[in-house]
């Protein structure tokens, strides 16, 4: 077939990994909503509303990270359990188009989450245009980081049990350790160093500073950006280099 449509190939992933599952198993939508919102509600109650703004921003960042991480499980399932990826490897679709389409499908899957959080953000977090742009940029970078990591892990995993282990490990690193729903100053000092292992900590810190929830020096702000962007570029490069589309 001449002139294959990349748009069609991208849409195929969105159908397979978002529209068809949501259409046939609507309960999945409820599940996608619950994760980041549950923690937001808890933080809001515990802080008597004082940390609501930070927690909404945190939920936004976490939704981005979660949608990226969900990709790992989905890809591993399609590859190892259904052997679906093998069918696509042997087709004219490239690895890049496949992963890009799958990433888009995760965003669509979490779309209700984004809409609700956007409404909350507008209502409870007064952001200037520059701050809003900063927050969106941070989220996009975190998404790129997490999908690169997810794709890398999914191609390495050979069984769904292994992929669950990867998900648990990465979730701990990217969502449990970092202080996303509250400022890092809430963590006792020696433990703060552990939080800085995770790129999500830098992302959350930039978003919190941009919204005025915390104050950091320009040097620290710049360092946060350097670490976040550097880690993301490194992860993309590692994923490109190590990824296994056609198995060695």
């Amino acid at each position: 077939m001449k002139g294959r449509s990349i748009g069609s190939q991208l849409f195929a992933s969105v159908l397979i990994n978002a529209i068809y599952p949501m259409q046939n198993f609507p309960i999945m939508l409820v599940n996608s909503l619950l994760g980041p919102f549950a923690f937001l509600i808890v933080i809001n109650f515990v802080s008597h509303g004082a940390l609501l703004g930070v927690a909404i921003e945190g939920a936004f960042v976490m939704t981005m990270v979660s949608s990226g991480l969900a990709l790992q499980g989905d890809l591993a399932h399609l590859k190892n359990d259904m052997k679906f990826q093998d069918m696509i490897v042997s087709s004219p679709t490239s690895a890049f188009i496949y992963i890009f389409g799958m990433a888009a499908s995760e965003l669509l899957y979490f779309l209700p989450n984004f809409i609700l959080l956007s409404i909350l953000l507008i209502l409870f977090v007064p952001l200037t245009s520059l701050a809003a742009f900063t927050v969106v940029t941070v989220m996009v970078i975190m998404f790129i980081f997490s999908i690169s990591l997810s794709f890398l892990l999914s191609t390495i995993s050979v069984d769904v049990i292994q992929s669950w282990a990867f998900t648990g490990l990465v979730s701990t690193l990217l969502s449990t350790i970092p202080p996303v729903y509250y400022p890092i100053t809430y963590i006792p000092l020696p433990w703060q160093y552990i939080a800085y292992i995770s790129p999500t900590t830098y992302a959350a810190q930039i978003a919190q500073a941009a919204a005025g929830f915390i104050t950091i020096t320009p040097l620290n702000f710049a360092l946060d950006w350097i670490v976040l962007v550097g880690a993301s570029i490194a992860m993309v490069l590692i994923a490109i280099k190590k990824v296994r589309w056609r198995e060695p």
Partner: protein, 311 residues
């Protein structure tokens, strides 16, 4: 290597996995890309590894492979334009219907959404599962799921289909239905089929390859393979007490535990008359693919272990 259109050519294809396991060793194939080619072998013989290399899913460790002149190793993009694969143990996605699965697969192959929907409707009828087109796959029988998977790759523009053990686990009726379908498809597709159901290969294949322990032992039509066995007729005797001494040929224990006499057609006729006279139950037929497979594989094992060939 010279470009060869209309042929599948493998030269010394080998595969050693990172664990050190030798999965394929110097596989050589040169067959026309028309009809059905069946690769038969025991579990772990190397069938799936070879299919995955030819289907551009897996890199080989050595050798070269060309399909219709396109280099499988160096130019997988070109090969992917005209092949489609149903991998071993692949499943219809549980959260899709057959129609949705086909439409999505065709989109991956670059069809427009409208063309994909039209083509899906067409192929679902061809494969005779039109009434299940919109039933979620978790509610479908194993046979219908398999047909839907074959319909998925069939709907594409691919002229060459790799089907890795497509009938494994199916009941005899579903299997027979799939055989009928494959027989229809082979008119305008090349089908590379792997199976360990020898009857399937015997019924469907124009060419058969026998693989054992990563080595392609023989390749050819059923008659060509039959020529590898010294005797072309077999009698199976169901009465262990019956005393028969063939003038030509030999007595062996078959795969089912019954005594078998492998002999010439003339001698088989003579023994048959004698068995009828004695009232002994028996059956006679040309040597089957199962017997040929058993003979060729056994000979290979014996060569490796330096045991005497009992056939």
């Amino acid at each position: 290597m010279q470009e060869q259109t209309g042929r599948l050519v493998c030269r010394d294809v080998g595969k050693v996995y990172s664990t050190g396991t030798v999965a394929l060793s110097k596989v050589n194939i040169d067959i026309p890309t028309k009809g059905i080619f069946a690769l038969i072998g025991r579990n772990g013989a190397g069938k799936t590894t070879l299919v995955r290399i030819l289907a551009t899913e897996l890199m080989s460790s050595s050798g070269t492979a060309l399909i219709n002149g396109a280099d499988v190793i160096k130019d997988p993009k070109k090969v992917r334009e005209f092949i489609a694969v149903v991998p071993q143990e692949s499943r219809l996605l549980m959260w899709t219907t057959p129609r949705q699965m086909i439409v999505a697969y065709l989109l991956y192959r670059g069809f427009s959404y409208v063309n994909a929907k039209n083509r899906a409707a067409e192929v679902l009828k061809t494969v005779n599962i039109g009434k299940y087109a919109d039933v979620q796959s978790q509610h479908l029988s194993g046979g219908t799921k398999r047909k839907a998977l074959i319909a998925t790759v069939l709907a594409s523009e691919a002229s060459m289909l790799f089907l890795d053990e497509p009938t494994t686990g199916l009941d005899p009726i579903s299997r027979a239905e799939l055989w009928n379908l494959l027989n229809k498809l082979k008119k305008d597709h090349f089908i590379f089929l792997t199976t360990h159901y020898l009857e399937e290969a015997e019924r469907l294949a124009d060419q058969i390859g026998i693989i054992e322990n990563g080595k392609l032992l023989n390749i050819g039509t059923l008659d060509e393979l039959r020529a590898h066995v010294k005797y072309d007729f077999s009698l199976t005797i169901f009465d262990n007490k019956a005393r028969i001494k063939p003038r030509a040929g030999r007595i062996v224990t078959g795969l089912d535990g019954n005594r078998q006499i492998l002999t010439t057609q003339k001698e088989a006729n003579r023994i048959a008359k004698e068995l009828i006279r004695k009232g002994t139950r028996f059956s006679t037929s040309p040597v089957s693919l199962e017997q040929i497979f058993y003979f060729i594989v056994k000979r290979s094992i014996n060569e490796e272990t330096e045991e005497k060939d009992e056939w």
